[in-house]
Symmetry: C2
Subunit: 337 residues, 2 copies
DNA sequence: TTGTAGGCGTTATCAA
DNA sequence: TTGATAACGCCTACAA
């Protein structure tokens, strides 16, 4: 506790510079001297103070990760991806939740600057793009899972139109034509993208779009249960035979409510979700969905940041990420009638 | 980027000390001077370097949180609890996953020391107690969710015997007497505690313990599905009418497999889990379980650490934490026959 | 009310 | 191959 380079120097009867050289394997040190130093290091259980080192190198090896809420499985997965690359490259991550609150986001960003963080990974921020741009002039910043227009902001984002189309294509291939859409939170870009994918895919197959088949939701489990109530209010003949939900949570909520009303999935109605959260494969029946690759997004975000920090090092972010379709057991072919 | 106290001093035509005083609201500063300084701060967008400050104060405001795997919902919840208290008190958390690997745990602990972390919250470590004790002499350390014998190690741990008993009591109250136990990973203290709770509760009610009704498992979803296969191998008359699983994940796996074999829960067999992970309330049907309060454990762990760091400040860790029974829809009274 | 000197633990630079 | 000195950005203690 509190052993410094000076203590080692004293104990080993050398100058602090020599100790420093040993610790960093830099410059020339006679083998005998090195051993003397190492012995002192062992005995005093010395560890260099990395903060002091940061001060002089201007390299803290800290990266801030700001997520909406770490207890949300999406962001936990994303964080895992970030962490795996970070540790591999010797960085440590400082985690903060901002709870969809602009003021908290700003607070965390300021804190990151103050702590000499080398960069920030900002997940689904509420902060307007303009302000993000302003911050990004002070500190390297990567925005994840939010659609960004400015080419000046580093960004990991998957255009989810295509992914949503995958889910709808599958339902259409099974013969469904009355396909409902359970939408995400209004005015969120991700919601809109998923909706666009739904609508354009319908059009591509000459299936008329019906506003009545668009159920309101907010990505949450309960909004899924509410959607089923909404479904019940539709006259029998106008009910959809399939549902495409903008999130797995809503799909699950819908299914739960359906079961309580003695509807069977997929027998009475097919359901496709979006996200592929870890629960999706565990539910009963397991949910057919569109996978949004959070872990990989986290990984790539960190790599992108690292490449910014050190242009020498070109970490490959692999191929561009995209959504993939995952067929499980909540869909089945439309039977006549 | 890189604005220092010197730049401000120069711009405001004052000494460094005056700037320092303004930034810290300490000592006397004439109002006019203060304004001059603040103006320079604004214009140059200055932020004090907290690492440099840490060096002097010997107070980094960093706390390391070392979990087995952040993408696991338990630990994400726990981390959330830690974070909520930490931020409130001005601390930042550095998150690391150790993946049940002793070497990684040690690595993270060393890193924490090197980074001048003020403390470590160590969740379910693999590290032997003796080594933890050794580390805890160098840096304040709180061990969470692992049973610790030594009174010298700060610890947040719930004796889960009692909680497990709650689940079994419920089944017994419903008339069940042939109650199976689906066990967790062998040789893990938590598994043993949950098993003890099962067994002693049985004995309390004069229900003979039957080793055949103890199914092996490892806390995972798949080990739950395997357990159902095991269940099927039992002769009809010797099958349990209820199952108490040492984890929700296993309970869910068991149920999934059960449904695939056209068994109904709770009609054909009652199921109780343990943990109350967020999925538990979302499944179909929602799972009756014993809640293990991860968020609260995280909160209390951080408070305990804070109290260690600053004995002046007595953050109440509230009442002692315990497991609670959560009744949902996977159990029902045993019907004659 | 303000400024000067010294140091926190480390490394870069230059000299020996 | 080693060591003295001056930084890094800031704060404490003391002086003016």
């Amino acid at each position: 506790m509190g052993t410094t380079i000076k203590d080692i120097a004293e104990k080993a009867q050398v100058s602090i510079m020599t100790v420093s050289r040993v610790m960093n394997n830099s410059g020339y040190v006679a083998e005998a001297t090195r051993e003397k130093v190492m012995k002192a290091v062992q005995e005093l259980n010395y560890q260099p103070n990395l903060l002091a080192r940061s001060l002089i190198n201007r390299k803290s090896s800290f990266v801030y990760v700001i997520v909406p809420d770490i207890s949300n499985p999406f962001y936990a997965d994303l964080t895992k991806g970030v962490e795996s690359v970070a540790h591999q490259e010797g960085y440590h991550i400082i985690l903060s939740s901002a709870y969809w609150n602009v003021a908290m986001e700003c607070g965390h960003i300021e804190a990151a600057r103050g702590r000499m963080a080398e960069g920030i990974i900002l997940v689904l921020p509420k902060l307007p793009e303009k302000e993000i741009l302003a911050y990004s002039r002070n500190i390297p910043l990567v925005v994840v899972d939010k659609h960004i227009v400015s080419p000046r902001i580093a960004n990991i984002y998957i255009e989810q139109d295509h992914g949503a189309g995958l889910g709808v294509e599958h339902l259409i291939a099974l013969g469904h034509r009355r396909i409902a859409f359970l939408s995400g939170t209004k005015n969120i870009y991700n919601s809109q993208a998923r909706f666009r994918g739904y609508r354009t895919t319908l059009e591509k197959h000459d299936i008329p779009f019906d506003q009545k088949l668009v159920f309101p939701g907010d990505f949450s489990f309960v909004s899924g249960t509410a959607a089923f109530e909404h479904f019940l209010t539709l006259p029998q003949t106008r009910r959809p035979t399939a549902l495409f939900a903008a999130s797995d949570l809503m799909a699950l909520g819908f299914m739960r409510s359906a079961y309580q009303h003695h509807f069977r999935v997929p027998d009475d109605i097919s359901v496709v979700g979006f996200d592929d959260i870890s629960l999706a494969s565990i539910t009963n029946p397991p949910l057919t969905t569109v996978r949004h690759p959070y872990i990989e997004m986290g990984r790539d975000a960190m790599k992108l940041l690292l490449n910014k920090l050190d242009p020498e090092k070109h970490l490959s972010t692999g191929d561009k990420l995209f959504n993939t379709f995952v067929e499980r057991e909540t869909t089945k072919p439309l039977t006549a009638g």
